[in-house]
């Protein structure tokens, strides 16, 4: 029962009194409305915008949030209203649903946001009214396509357990996944082009020899062309066989259009090999060579546009069929008319109706070769009608095909755009994530530096160093810190981690904890211990190729740009010297800061330290003795 008419239920029940005298037996007892209360206004405060409605309006749909007791969870005692922290614009249509019984989809609303709202308020989207249902379904479908695209992108990620065959198939289908695939892609493309050009050049007259007339190049340089052809066909054969091997479903692959094109492209060659130079069959052999032109269709693997064209033609099959049919009809009609009109004239080229077909086609497509022209007046009249109608008939289905092509093309463009956007989006997300991670590390370092300063530094230094972290940030950082303490591990950034991995491999510092931050945290407290440990300085046995990464600005992609720092021995040496220096810094932090830093780690923009006070925590590589000057320069 539509709840719009729920308001008329009292009337319907009252009208039932009309049955009473007719009835012969007693009526059942009417249900009591025990929760009888005066219909009251309910205030729904949605993010500050107040909506008001009658309680009975909401009670119409008891299986939704607003109609059930679930809304009591949102009741605000002080203000005596129901508060929802949701989008007030979307709430309009939801409340209208209660009022009118019809759910409308506002066109300017994002489909996922709207769906979320509906889910929150417990309304199933299937009841969207007919007026808005089409639009809703369209948008939903688009959204689904987008999600599917995303999923397909994820599938591009190399699955760890792909066997060789699957890898190969993926390489064939998506050339951009690996370098080898790209190479293969370009090589095959090149050879297709070579093959097509060869076929074309073969027939060009090459200049005459002494006693023969102009020969096509193919006959003059038979061997060369044969070798070229052989090479191309070999490549194509190998490619086909590889694809066949790698295909997940060989039967399906063999049935696909592209594989048929491949086969048709290379088969003539093999047939030609097999056939002898028999005169009878050489005619047929020549015909077979025509099929070599199919190699050009192999380009459709390389060209998106070609594929779209093919797909368009497939999807416009009905329009094309209609075009063909109407053309055929028109051709037959006009050919007949022209034949009989021109029958009278002498030396008429319109010898039969099929002969007139040629004239009709040429005229209707406005080609007008002029090899057949009507001579009688009637013929000319009908000829002009024919050409006029030809324009019409051909022009009619063309817009449909064009619009189909445009739609599919734009769909593809959208897919490409989405891919590019996704890349950019992922990059942004990466940066943001690492930014916040860096922020945490940064704040930790700052905290430690503050500790150091408390020990030694002057007031102004402290002022400079104390970053204004928001309460939220500090709470978050505190949380991360607690986690660190809980797990007895610490957060590091990527580069540090890589270095630490290398170091643990080198096993130079057995007693070292793999993270710099712990180093930091222990700085203030157990630095002294560290220093006292007799850590041997490594010699130059460290491989020179040890990269010391440098952070770029946070706005760059975080593919680590590794640059070779100074002598790696000094790197490992620097650790111990770092300790030593840190020891010094306890006494004179200022000096320590300057000398311990060579590389400036990028700070997230929000936390850029002012001045050059702190360009980074003391985990920076202290300079090897030879370049200690440069470090100070870097800092200043």
């Amino acid at each position: 029962m539509a709840t719009g008419v729920a308001a008329w239920l009292p009337f319907a029940r009252a009208a039932a009194i009309g049955w009473m005298p007719v009835a012969n037996c007693p009526m059942p007892i009417a249900p009591r409305d025990n929760s009888k209360r005066q219909d009251e206004l309910i205030i729904l405060n949605v993010s500050g915008r107040r909506f008001q409605t009658w309680r009975t309006t909401l009670d119409r749909y008891p299986d939704t949030l607003l109609g059930s007791s679930e809304k009591d969870f949102f009741y605000n005692e002080e203000t005596k209203e129901y508060f929802f922290d949701r989008d007030p614009d979307a709430f309009r249509s939801i409340l209208n649903f209660y009022r009118t019984g019809k759910l409308h989809y506002p066109r300017h609303e994002c489909i996922s946001a709207y769906d979320e709202e509906l889910t929150f308020f417990g309304i199933i989207p299937e009841i969207i009214g007919d007026c808005c249902y089409e639009e809703y379904k369209d948008r939903k479908r688009e959204n689904l396509e987008r999600l599917q695209d995303d999923q397909e992108e994820n599938k591009d990620m190399k699955l760890p357990n792909m066997n060789f065959r699957e890898t190969m198939w993926r390489a064939f289908e998506n050339p951009h996944t690996s370098t080898m695939a790209l190479v293969f892609y370009y090589v095959t493309g090149f050879f297709i082009a070579i093959s097509v050009i060869t076929n074309v050049v073969e027939t060009v007259p090459c200049g005459s020899t002494a006693n023969q007339k102009d020969m096509p190049c193919g006959e003059r340089y038979t061997v060369a062309f044969f070798c070229m052809d052989t090479a191309c066909v070999m490549i194509f054969t190998v490619e086909y066989l590889l694809r066949l091997f790698a295909a997940p479903s060989r039967y399906r692959f063999m049935r696909s259009v592209m594989s048929i094109i491949d086969v048709v492209a290379i088969l003539p060659y093999y047939i030609g090999l097999v056939m002898t130079n028999n005169e009878d069959v050489s005619g047929a052999f020549v015909t077979l060579r025509v099929f070599r032109v199919f190699r050009i269709f192999k380009f459709s693997r390389h060209s998106q546009g070609l594929r779209i064209l093919g797909y368009t033609l497939k999807s416009c099959a009905s329009e094309l069929g209609f075009l063909l049919f109407s053309l055929t009809m028109a051709i037959i009609i006009f050919a007949t008319v022209m034949f009989y009109a021109e029958k009278g004239s002498s030396s008429s080229k319109f010898t039969s109706i099929p002969a007139s077909f040629w004239y009709t086609i040429v005229t209707m497509t406005t080609l007008g070769y002029g090899d057949m022209v009507p001579k009688t007046i009637a013929g000319k009249i009908f000829g002009s009608i024919c050409s006029l109608s030809g324009v019409l008939v051909i022009a009619l289905p063309v817009p449909v095909i064009v619009s189909n092509f445009s739609r599919i093309y734009h769909q593809n463009q959208r897919a490409d755009k989405r891919r590019a956007q996704k890349k950019a989006r992922l990059a942004r997300i990466r940066i943001a994530k690492s930014g916040s991670a860096n922020a945490f590390l940064q704040s930790k370092r700052n905290g430690l530096i503050n500790e150091l300063l408390e020990l030694t530094g002057t007031e102004e230094d402290e002022q400079k160093l104390i970053k204004s972290t928001s309460l939220l940030e500090s709470q978050h950082h505190h949380l991360l810190h607690c986690l660190e303490k809980t797990t007895a591990h610490e957060f590091v950034d990527e580069q540090m981690y890589e270095q630490n991995c290398l170091e643990t491999v080198l096993q130079s510092y057995p007693s070292r904890s793999p993270s710099i931050s712990s180093h930091d945290s222990s700085m203030g407290t157990c630095c002294g211990h560290r220093v006292k440990k007799n850590i041997p300085l490594p010699n130059a046995s460290v491989p020179p190729a040890h990269p010391v990464p440098v952070h770029q600005g946070p706005l760059q992609e975080l593919s680590a740009i590794h640059i070779q720092c100074s002598d790696p021995s000094s790197h490992t040496a620097s650790r111990s010297t770092l300790n030593l220096k840190a020891d010094d810094s306890r006494i004179n932090c200022k000096g320590g800061r300057i000398t311990t830093a060579i590389i400036s780690l990028p700070t997230p923009p929000a936390l850029t330290p002012d001045g050059d006070g702190l360009h980074g925590p003391p985990q920076r590589r202290p300079p090897p003795p030879s370049v200690s000057n440069s470090s100070t320069d870097v800092l200043q």
């Binding site: 029962m1 539509a2 719009g4 008419v5 729920a6 308001a7 008329w8 239920l9 009292p10 009337f11 319907a12 029940r13 009252a14 009208a15 039932a16 009194i17 009309g18 049955w19 009473m20 005298p21 007719v22 009835a23 012969n24 037996c25 007693p26 009526m27 007892i29 009417a30 009591r32 409305d33 009888k36 005066q38 219909d39 009658w54 009975t56 009022r99 009118t100």
Partner: protein, 210 residues
């Protein structure tokens, strides 16, 4: 008094000579709340509730027979309530204007829900007396009873026999037609109903509907 408001389709009304168009484009406003309260047995609040429901379903302020049938049919999805709705419509439309205004609506409801037993029975008699001649004959009653049975639909238990309405009407006349003249007058009707306890009780059934 009644105010009939012509909305923007006035221009169309000029071109179209249809009276129907004027009728459907008319927006009706009921008499004031105070007047209605005086005329009926409803309180102001109840009238407000009723009007809101009325106006919600019929924004133009009047109900024509089609809409009336549609609304009523929605309460009885099993069968065909259109015939009975037709009779109801005629009973509500006391002015025979072809449409029910809110005043008619609320007046009838007032009788049905808040009226005296006699008033209710009078209204019911009016409903049964299709041609409004003051007598209920067998044909009229058969029509009414058949309309009521139609609302049941096809799937009933026990299965609906074809002559069930007729039997029902015979029983009815047996009870109501005191002087066996083949018709039931208002007085006979009221008397007979007052004698039947079941009917008396069932008339009070919907007192608290609002």
């Amino acid at each position: 008094g009644k105010r009939i408001v012509y909305i923007k389709y006035q221009i169309f009304a000029m071109y179209k000579a249809d009276d129907d168009l004027e009728m459907t484009m008319v927006c009706h406003r009921p008499e004031g709340l105070d007047q209605l309260e005086a005329q009926t047995n409803f309180s102001k609040r109840e009238l407000q509730v009723l009007y809101r429901g009325f106006k919600n379903e019929c924004p133009s302020g009047v109900v024509n027979e089609e809409t009336f049938k549609q609304i009523y049919s929605q309460f009885f999805p099993h069968g065909d309530a259109s015939t009975y709705a037709h009779y109801l419509f005629n009973a509500f439309d006391t002015g025979h204007s072809g449409s029910i205004k809110f005043e008619d609506f609320v007046t009838a409801l007032s009788i049905l829900l808040r009226g005296t037993v006699t008033e209710k029975l009078q209204w019911t008699f009016n409903l049964y007396d299709i041609n409004r001649d003051g007598y209920i004959n067998k044909e009229e009653m058969t029509d009414i009873v058949r309309a009521i049975y139609d609302m049941m639909g096809k799937y009933t238990y026990p299965v609906l026999k074809h002559d069930a309405p007729k039997q029902h009407v015979d029983a009815f006349f047996q009870k109501m037609d005191k002087n066996r003249d083949g018709v039931v007058t208002l007085d006979e009707f009221i008397l007979s109903c007052q004698e039947d306890e079941n009917i008396m009780r069932s008339l009070q059934l919907f007192e608290n509907v609002i």
